[in-house]
C-alpha cells in the first residue's frame, strides 16, 4: 500500500497517475455519501471523504478502515490532509478531522511508502 497525502489541490492524483502510469479508469473516487468499502481499484482517491461518509452513516471508522486495509492489495490511497486548521465548530466536522487523522495513522503504518505533495512537489516521508 502507498499513501499520498497533502492539502487540497496540491496535485496528489496527478502525481499518482503520472508516476504509476495509470489512467482515470484506475481511480475509485470516494463520496461523502457512500459508506461502503471503496472498490478495488489501483487508486482510492478522496479517502477523507469516505471517512466523512462513515461518520454520517454512524459506522465505526477504525474497524471499517481496518477491513479496507485487510481486503485491499496493492492500492494507492490518496487523502486530503485536514489536520492543520482551526478546530471546526460543527461537531461532525470535528469528529471527521480526528477520525481522518487516526485513519491516516493506520494507513501510514501499513504503507510501504508515504508521500506528501506540496505545490505538485513530492516528498517521501516514509
Amino acid at each position: 500500500m502507498i499513501l499520498i497525502f497533502g492539502g487540497v489541490y496540491q496535485g496528489k492524483l496527478g502525481y499518482a497517475l503520472e508516476r504509476f502510469g495509470l489512467t482515470q479508469s484506475d481511480v475509485y473516487y470516494c463520496s461523502e455519501d457512500e459508506a461502503g468499502i471503496p472498490k478495488d481499484k489501483r487508486i482510492v482517491c478522496g479517502f477523507d471523504r469516505w471517512i466523512l461518509a462513515l461518520i454520517r452513516a454512524d459506522r465505526d471508522v477504525l474497524s471499517a478502515v481496518d477491513a479496507f486495509i485487510k481486503q485491499s492489495g496493492d492500492v494507492i490511497v490518496i487523502c486530503d490532509d485536514v489536520s492543520c486548521g482551526v478546530v471546526p465548530v460543527d461537531p461532525q466536522l470535528r469528529q471527521w478531522r480526528e477520525e481522518t487523522g487516526r485513519a491516516m495513522a493506520l494507513v501510514s503504518r501499513e504503507s510501504n511508502e508515504v508521500i506528501r505533495l506540496f505545490c505538485s512537489i513530492p516528498t517521501r516521508v516514509k
Binding site: 497533502g6 492539502g7 487540497v8 486548521g85 482551526v86 471546526p88 506540496f118 505545490c119 512537489i121
Partner: protein, 184 residues
Amino acid sequence: MRVFISGGCKNGKSYHAQRLAKHSAGSGRPLYYIATMKPVDSEDDERIARHRADRRGWGFVTIEQPQNIEEILKKCDTVGSFLLDSLTALLSNEMFTAGGEISENAAEKISGGLRQVIEQIPRIVIVSDYIYSDAIKYDPLTEAYRKSLAGLDRLAAGRCEVVLEAAYTQIIAHKGGGVFDALP
C-alpha cells in the same frame, strides 16, 4: 534566482522572503517590494505604514500593485531584485471587486500576468499562504478561492528554481534549498 515561499500564517515567510530578496539584490541592484494589499480601513493603513517603516531599513523601494501584476514590468527595472508579497492578496483583489461582484476569471488573469513577471524577472521572491489543510467544508465561493490560489501557487512553484515552505520560522526546502542554506 526565483523563489516561491509559502506556509501557514506567522511562520516567518515574510522575514525569510525579505532576507532572500535582499541577498539577491547584491550591492548594486534595485530592491523592490511589490505591495499587493488594498487598504480598506484605518487599521489597514496603520499596518501598511508599520510594514513600510520596517522595510525601510532593508533598502526596499515600495511599489503599490494590488492588481494587474504585469504592470510592474513597466514601472521597475527588471534587473532588480523583487519581493512579491503576496499571491493571496492579489487574488482577493482581482476576485472580489469593489462593487461586490465576483470576477470568475481572476485566477486566469493573474496567471497570465504572473507568467510574464516570472519569465522576465530573474530575481524574484514570491510569497503565498498555505490554506489547504483544514477540516472545514467551505461555501462554493471560498472553495473557488482556495482552488484558484492553489493553481497560482503551483504555477509559481513550477517556474521557480527554489520552492520553500516556512514551518514556525524553520524552512523546509522542496526544491533548490542550497540557496537558502548559503544565506549569511
